[in-house]
């Protein structure tokens, strides 16, 4: 069931069109990703959805509420984690949660939240003395303190070290498992691939595609590639005769075979029959990165 519906959203800044007719729906209980390069209009899109910005045109409904008309009501059930928002340096972790707790009708238990976010030992630590990862986790805690039904998390692992990122991902999955619907804004492919049930790919203010991560890569190509170094010479025809194989390339000592499903199995059994050992064997599939390039015509990094 759709918990969020965004239809034909348009937003200009001056003469520049930041969001140009964005539509999507988010189902209850899923992690919905909004993926796109910096400046694609992701943040503006979610800010219009949250009611922090007024769209020039288009409609938004979150749990049947209008983000503007029902702003106060919506914010009771919507948890928002903003990109780049700090707290006063001298405010302690426990105090911040206690303060934000007082803003909501049915707040969550701060002690539980602090524990589940691994901030238990930091309750009395001032915000300014927390590490980047801890500040980020506190920010997530504040987004969840109101017991929201929907949480919008914007670029939540930017600036975190790899371990902190993985910990944060686990945390997001726990939050989803507790029944919260999540919108995740990101420009990290690995994050989108790991966490999102479905994704909207946004580029230049437009939705390019909405699909599951697997669906997006499959749209681009089902092609697989196998690379290896053979222990003995063999003729390309040996592999090209297989129905699964589309092409064979050689790059020095390395053989690159491309083809469809079950490519690895087919290639491996032919090599075994001919007593050829495949060293440094690698299977490559189309990644979300490749899909993104194919969909938008550019790499996400720039």
């Amino acid at each position: 069931m759709a918990i969020i519906e965004v239809k034909d959203l348009v937003k200009h800044y001056g003469t520049q069109k930041a969001v140009d007719g964005v539509s999507f729906t988010v189902d209850e209980g899923e992690i919905f990703g909004i993926l796109g390069p910096n400046g694609a209009g992701k943040t503006t899109t979610v800010e219009c959805t949250e009611g922090l910005r007024t769209p020039d045109s288009g409609t938004v409904s979150v749990m049947g509420l209008d983000p503007h008309r029902d702003a106060k009501e919506l914010k009771q059930v919507l948890g928002i984690q903003l990109q780049e928002s700090r707290l006063p340096d001298r405010l302690r972790v426990g105090e911040a949660l206690d303060l934000y707790r007082s803003f909501y009708r049915n707040p969550a238990d701060p002690a539980k939240l602090i524990d589940s976010l691994g901030l238990g030992a930091r309750v009395k630590t001032p915000y300014g003395k927390l590490s980047g990862g801890q500040q980020q986790r506190l920010s997530i805690a504040l987004a969840l303190i109101g017991n929201p039904r929907v949480a919008v998390l914007d670029e939540l692992t930017t600036g975190l070290d790899p371990q902190a990122r993985r910990d944060t991902w686990e945390l997001i999955e726990q939050v989803r498992d507790s029944g919260v619907t999540i919108i995740l804004v990101t420009h990290f492919m690995d994050e989108a691939e790991r966490l999102c049930d479905r994704l909207a790919v946004i580029d230049s203010g437009k939705v390019v595609a909405v699909d599951t991560p697997a669906g997006l890569t499959a749209r681009v190509s089902a092609e697989q590639r196998v690379r290896f170094r053979p222990s003995a010479e063999f003729a390309d025809a040996l592999l090209l005769d297989l129905p699964e194989v589309a092409a064979v390339e050689r790059n020095g000592a390395q053989v690159i075979v491309s083809g469809s499903e079950n490519l690895l199995q087919a290639v491996a059994s032919v090599l075994a029959r001919n007593q050829i050992v495949a060293a440094d064997l690698r299977v490559e599939q189309v990644s979300l990165d490749d899909a993104f390039v194919a969909l938008t015509g550019k790499s996400i990094e720039n």
Partner: protein
């Protein structure tokens, strides 16, 4: 507990934890008065001041200083900082509008100025026998209007300054002006007559404080000017305040 009360409590903690606002705004004025009073000659009636002791004459200027430090250094810097750091924006994501955070800031700073003033009046009285304000009602009115004018100017700076740095810069100019005309840098009897007369109308209105302290009625025009500044700057701040 209501959100506003909780915000006031939180802002109060932060104020006390900030060594600058706490020592400069809250304690320094009283410490300065006591320090000056420790100099014997400043405790003697002086012919330069119509036989009044310097310490009695200077007490209202110390109050000017405390109001200026709190209203023009602490207040705008904190508020502009809250905007710059996205703290106001974070509050916009909650059911409580960030205007309540600004209200809490104002309340805490008003309380601080009040406490600083009480400290000055009481320590002057206890240590050097500086009399209590002779016209307490007039003094309270002058104090409220004066503080209102200075705080409104501080809010106006916070409203329009693009960054916390800019807010501090603009506020410092106002701060020096207020301190100069308030007779903190140079006692006012040393200032040229014209400058001293202009100073009568510059917030927070040191002359009204002095008159009412001496038991006289405040000058109505001076009070009206303070009220006008408070209203105009306050309305300007409310209209122009940028949330992000």
């Amino acid at each position: 507990m209501s959100a506003l009360l909780k915000l006031v409590q939180t802002e109060m903690r932060l104020f006390v934890r900030d060594p600058v606002s706490f020592t400069l705004g809250l304690l320094l004025p009283a410490v300065l008065l006591i320090g000056l009073g420790a100099v014997p000659i400043l405790r003697e009636p002086s012919p330069d001041m119509d036989g009044v002791r310097f310490i009695d004459y200077f007490a209202p200027s110390v109050i000017v200083m405390s109001v200026a430090v709190i209203g023009l250094t602490s207040l705008p810097a904190v508020m502009a900082g809250y905007r710059e750091q996205g703290i106001l924006r974070r509050m916009q994501t909650t059911p409580v509008h960030p205007v309540k955070l600004l209200a809490a800031q104002l309340i805490v700073n008003l309380l601080a100025a009040l406490v600083a003033t009480v400290l000055v009046v009481v320590s002057g009285r206890l240590v050097f026998d500086v009399p209590l304000p002779g016209n307490p009602f007039g003094f309270a009115v002058a104090f409220v209007l004066g503080i209102g004018a200075v705080f409104a100017l501080g809010m106006l700076v916070a409203a329009v300054a693009p960054t916390a740095r800019a807010a501090s810069g603009i506020a410092t100019v106002l701060f020096m002006t207020v301190m100069f005309f308030g007779g903190v840098y140079l006692p006012r009897f040393m200032l040229p007559e014209a400058v001293a007369r202009i100073g009568d109308y510059v917030p927070p209105g040191v002359q009204s404080l002095l008159d009412t302290w001496n038991g006289d009625a405040p000058d109505v025009v001076q009070l009206l000017v303070l009220a006008a500044v408070a209203l105009a700057a306050g309305a300007g701040a409310a209209r122009m305040f940028k949330w992000e």
